[in-house]
């Protein structure tokens, strides 16, 4: 039975989970990403992984780092945050007058581990100054086409995807109608699912009934989200209003998340406070709601789009792998 091939020998504990071939391919993809942005005149930047500020999101759990130094008063410590994305720092650069910028960096998200998640992962994040929603979607489509060679992305409105996939209008349907659609489509509903948690129902339907069909054959960019899921995107005052957020899907896997960026500091303050209230209700630690980003926005953030793309997932898909561990040298368990 044994033919002495490498697959028969267990991997020693120190060795990487990814093959040399996979990591060579990863290096090629890194160069291609840099080339894509360099050719378009984006400036590559690096910003801190450890910051006093952090993105405030109900479902992102940043990892705190406790610093004690001679400059702190005796017995006092200072908490800083490993960044869940370089968004705040990159927007501070834009507010300071920088042109379009990109960055390839590590990011950290607590508690996320699975076939498509590792708490430490690599993001490609870029900001295109002067660009609107359409330009943002076009650039993301071009990047996907260049790196994955599966053609340009089709656009699909969030609303249309739900109407096609589960026959409900995600903007108009009541929570009861969303719950009924979930049951009708055989979604396994968590015991603790609150009937009035509208975004919870939308997410359950999205994960089970919509996402698996996105990006088959050619990439899909899902766009124009419900305002309750705007995060840091601006809201377009249509009827009903939509958040100018867009996400890239390939083979049913979410690869990138982009915004036509919110510019108003006051609006961000309101959203931060609302999210912190939700975090407190969910028993999570609240996060610092004042930040240097707010100061930057008050001084003036230029109109722009910003996108974050999961580089590990991109490599995984382009390499034909089925889990991140095949393209990461040392995932969490052996990090």
């Amino acid at each position: 039975m044994s033919n002495g091939s490498a697959a028969d020998t267990p991997r020693p504990d120190f060795a990487p989970s990814a093959s040399l071939e996979a990591l060579r391919f990863r290096a090629v993809m890194l160069r291609r990403v840099r080339q894509f942005f360099d050719e378009r005149g984006f400036l590559e930047v690096e910003t801190p992984l450890l910051s006093a500020d952090v993105v405030i999101d109900l479902h992102l759990d940043p990892l705190p780092v406790v610093l004690s130094s001679a400059r702190c008063q005796a017995g006092k410590v200072r908490t800083m945050w490993l960044q869940t994305s370089p968004e705040f720092a990159m927007k501070r650069l834009l507010a300071a007058g920088f042109p379009s910028i990109y960055q390839i960096t590590h990011a950290f998200r607590g508690g996320e581990r699975g076939r498509l998640h590792n708490p430490e992962f690599t993001l490609v994040e870029w900001y295109a100054v002067g660009q609107g929603r359409d330009g943002g979607i076009r650039l993301l489509s071009q990047l996907a086409e260049t790196l994955l060679k599966k053609g340009p992305a089709e656009r699909l409105a969030y609303r249309h995807a739900f109407q096609l996939g589960v026959g409900v209008d995600p903007f108009q349907a009541s929570c009861e109608e969303l719950a009924a659609a979930a049951r009708q489509h055989g979604v396994v509903i968590p015991a603790g699912q609150d009937l009035q948690d509208r975004d919870g129902w939308l997410d359950l339907l999205l994960v089970d009934c919509i996402e698996p069909h996105l990006g088959r054959g050619q990439p899909t960019i899902l766009c124009d989200y419900p305002p309750s899921q705007a995060a840091l995107a601006r809201i377009r005052p249509d009827s009903p209003p939509v958040a100018e957020r867009f996400e890239l899907y390939v083979e049913g896997i979410e690869l990138a998340n982009g915004y036509h960026e919110l510019l108003e500091a006051e609006e961000l303050r309101r959203r931060n406070e609302a999210v912190n209230r939700q975090r407190a209700l969910a028993g999570k630690m609240t996060l610092p709601s004042e930040s240097r980003l707010l100061a930057a926005m008050e001084s003036g953030l230029p109109p722009c789009t910003g996108v974050a793309l999961g580089f590990d997932r991109l490599v995984m898909l382009a390499f034909g792998a089925s889990e991140l561990a095949e393209v990461l040298p040392f995932p969490l368990e052996i990090a």
Binding site: D57, L58, H59, L60, G111, E112, R113, G114, R115, L116, H117, V188, I189, P190, A191, G192, Q193, D199, G200, L202, D203, L204, L206, V207, E211, Q229, A231, E247, E254, N257, A282, G283, K284
Partner: protein, 189 residues
């Protein structure tokens, strides 16, 4: 009783749902866009073998199940009760014939089996995969016939009937697979 948070969820975890023990046989972490993490689990009921599909949200938790596996020796049968003894603690455990199920066919006094305890009560008995049983009665074998595809019922020392090839005779010892109940080979004649 310990609880497992969703961040502790993994394959192989033993948990309690509605008072019954389950083994987590599959766990998939999914997270929609900016949404709440979902933990999609398949759980096997250790009492009944049925499989449950459950989805948990980040922040949910499950009670751990006090499940352990021990080696026990089969002592004797008293009416509908089978009595076993933990070889280490000498503690005795009783299983009903319903819990023992078809496994009574393979139980010989002194045989070491594996037993699963839930809250210190026996729930599953697993005899060794193969047991050797002496033939007590059968129709006489056909001389010269060594074919294994012609079978006949054979009564073994435990009182069970096993289908064996026609060349098996009284006094032979046969090896039986306890997972399928099938004859494997003749050990001695």
């Amino acid at each position: 009783m310990a609880t497992y948070k969703t961040s502790d969820f993994r394959k192989g975890l033993k948990v309690q749902i509605d008072g019954e023990p389950y083994l987590m046989i599959e766990m998939n972490f999914v997270k929609p866009g900016k949404g709440n993490a979902l933990y999609k689990c398949k759980l096997r009921n250790l009492l009944r073998g049925t499989v449950l599909d459950r989805t948990y949200k980040g922040g949910d938790s499950l009670e751990s199940a006090d499940v352990e596996e021990i080696d026990v020796q089969y002592l004797y049968r008293h009416a509908d009760t089978f009595v076993f003894m933990d070889n280490k603690t000498f503690e005795q455990y009783e299983l009903s014939s319903e819990q023992v199920d078809d496994n009574w066919k393979y139980l010989k006094e002194g045989m070491v089996c594996s037993m699963t305890l839930f809250n210190n009560n026996p729930i599953i008995l697993s005899p060794p995969n193969h047991v050797e049983l002496k033939v007590e009665y059968c129709e006489p074998g056909v001389k010269g016939d060594t074919a294994t595809n012609v079978t006949k019922p054979v009564k073994v020392e435990t009182g069970a009937e096993i289908l064996c090839p026609s060349f098996i005779n009284i006094g032979n010892i046969v090896k039986v697979d306890t997972r399928t109940g099938a004859y494997v080979e003749r050990v001695s004649s």
